[in-house]
Amino acid sequence: MDSNLTINIFAGAYIFMLAAVAGWVIIGNVPAILHTPLMSGSNFVHGIVVVGGIYVLLNATNVLEQSVGFAAVLLGSGNVAGGYAVTVRMLEMFKSSDVKPHHARHGRAAHHAKA
């Protein structure tokens, strides 16, 4: 990757700045009901670190680098697999009521009348 793409510190700073704004805006209006699943979901997203771990391990040239690289891939894939499993479990619970919350709120009177 190094041969066809070079990001100097200023280009890097721009990428970081834009990504940070994106992250801030994406989470902006999240309802409290989703705080825990979203923390878990974003925890899954930074699991992409495993890609870096694989790069480092494949390029390892001695036992020390191999061992530490092994640890990187091991920990990173734990982050990915565990983060995904837990987030899916949390979010599947929201599936049964696919109705939008504000939409459902209008129907409250009807709900009680039925009961």
């Binding site: 992250g23 409290a32 989703l34 825990t36 923390m39 480092v56 390892a60 690289g69 990187a72 499993a85």
Partner: protein, 486 residues
């Protein structure tokens, strides 16, 4: 096909996949932030992740000349590491109880931080940084990743109750400050040593010292923080891991890592601020002014006594009430009583009682945990209300039923300036005409270690027992009523 072509093709494929993956991860996160689309959001993000991970094996074709002889062995190692780490985490993520979710998030987050720190370690030991800027970025990523790693492990140990008390001692802040100064000094001497300047230790020794201090700092910083603040702490470390991943992404010149990492860094920071706001704690206070540090608070001001009642009496009372608001807490989660609670609620609704759930932003051990729990039991959205939407309704409600919640209904937060939880927004359960509290034992304190004056109020009655068992009795009592009437 020449090996040069293969290298070029694999580089283009990984670059394009990285681009697509970054987009899918962000889009997935966006979908996850709305209840209607959340369940599909994680799958979108998962697809992006899967593509990025598979494509990363194409690095096989473009490894440096030094690594060529070892590349098949390294490929095997990578497969093995993924199989071990992935399967253990997958299995534990699938089997863990819902109540243990917060500490699992802490563990997985710590693993991400550890991975970022490990990547930095390889770069440092191999002296691979391309110039001083990259070296400094590597060091910062290493520092943040290592702190997130050891700090998250301590957070896990606390929530898992392996570590039970906040460890506080005099001069703690000074020690932490000293360790941080040491880290920066060692980091600076690494930069000097790499540039060919003087070194007081061989470079590998300096690097080990750097990581040792960073890990120690994560432990020292997290140890004194009380359990009630742990969700905020996990959220901070989540954001920190994101930043560490982003920084190491820059070092590896991988824009997908940079973007995904920094998006999480920002999103996690905002999430942290939202949580801290809900608890009326500033992030600074969470980290540096610890709960429970003030032991002066006494129970002296509280008059009256706890008045126990039978579960069946409370149930029948609610059956004939006009309106009930239920305040669930960690105790409900622990006893796994959510299904029984909803069964009981359905009986009340059938008897034309208006039932609502009131969720405190930090009920349970993590914001939103109660929403997840109630969703699991099948409680519809339209019965669940957040603090701001329902707090005024307690005053006009017949019964407030508090199940396994404590601090979030403690009136001391409103009135008692000496209380450590003073100023935290609480649910005004005490304003209901009558309050029933389901609680395991008499006289207990909340997670924050504060006595709850509500339990001694004249309009408050205690139902002692495990939440699930109590709810079982309540269901029986209302059922029996129906049988007697028929």
């Amino acid at each position: 096909m020449t090996s040069d072509m293969l290298t070029t093709i694999s580089q283009v494929v990984t670059a394009v996949t990285g681009f697509v993956a970054a987009l899918l991860l962000m889009y997935g996160l966006k979908r996850m932030s709305s209840p209607a689309t959340a369940a599909s959001g994680i799958r979108v993000a998962g697809a992006g992740m899967l593509a990025a991970v598979i494509a990363s094996f194409l690095y096989f074709f473009s490894v440096g000349a030094d690594a060529k002889p070892l590349v098949f062995f390294n490929l095997g190692l990578a497969g093995l590491a993924m199989a071990i780490g992935g399967s253990i985490a997958w299995w534990s993520g699938k089997t863990v109880k819902m109540t243990a979710m917060p500490q699992m998030v802490a563990i997985y987050n710590g693993m991400g931080g550890g991975a970022a720190a490990s990547i930095a370690a390889v770069e440092l030991f191999g002296n691979r940084a391309d110039g001083r800027t990259q070296l400094i970025v590597t060091l910062f990523g290493a520092l943040i990743g290592a702190i997130s790693f050891s700090g998250s492990l301590i957070a896990w140990a606390k929530l898992q109750r392996v570590l039970k008390v906040p460890l506080q001692f005099a001069g703690q802040q000074i020690l932490n400050g000293a360790v941080m100064v040491a880290i920066l000094a060692v980091g600076a001497s690494i930069v000097v040593a790499v540039a060919g300047g003087p070194q007081f230790l061989p470079l590998p020794g300096l690097i080990c010292l750097f990581f040792g201090c960073a890990l120690a700092f994560g432990i020292l910083m997290t140890l004194p923080i009380g359990g009630a603040d742990m969700p905020v702490v996990i959220s901070i470390y989540n954001a920190a891991t994101g930043v560490a991943v982003g920084l190491e992404g820059y070092v590896l010149q991988n824009p997908a890592l940079m973007i995904a990492g920094m998006v999480v860094g920002a999103a996690g920071t905002l999430l942290t601020l939202l949580m801290a706001k809900a608890m009326n704690r500033s992030v600074f206070n969470v980290l540096f002014k610890h709960f429970g540090a003030s032991k002066k608070h006494k129970r002296g001001a509280i008059a009256g006594s706890e008045k126990p009642v039978q579960a069946s009496d409370a149930a029948i009372d609610m059956r004939y009430a006009k309106s009930v608001i239920i305040v669930p807490g960690y105790g409900l989660a622990v006893s796994q009583g959510q299904q029984k609670l909803y069964d009981f609620v359905k009986m009340l609704v059938a008897a034309k009682v208006s039932v609502k759930f009131a969720i405190h932003p930090v009920a349970g051990r993590m914001p939103g945990q109660m929403d997840v729990l109630l969703a699991e039991a099948g409680v519809p959205y339209d019965m669940i209300f957040q603090l701001a939407d329902i707090n005024d309704q307690f005053a006009t409600t017949d019964v407030a039923l508090v199940i396994g919640a404590n601090d979030v209904v403690n009136p001391a937060a409103r009135t008692d300036k000496s209380s450590p939880i003073y100023g935290m927004p609480i649910l005004n359960a005490d304003k209901a005409k009558k309050v029933y509290v389901v609680k395991r034992t008499p006289g207990g304190k909340g997670y924050s270690g504060v006595v709850n004056g509500l339990f001694y109020d004249p309009n408050c009655f205690m139902v002692y027992g495990d939440a699930s068992a109590v709810l079982g009795k309540m269901i029986e009592a209302v059922k029996g009523l129906g049988a007697a009437a028929a």
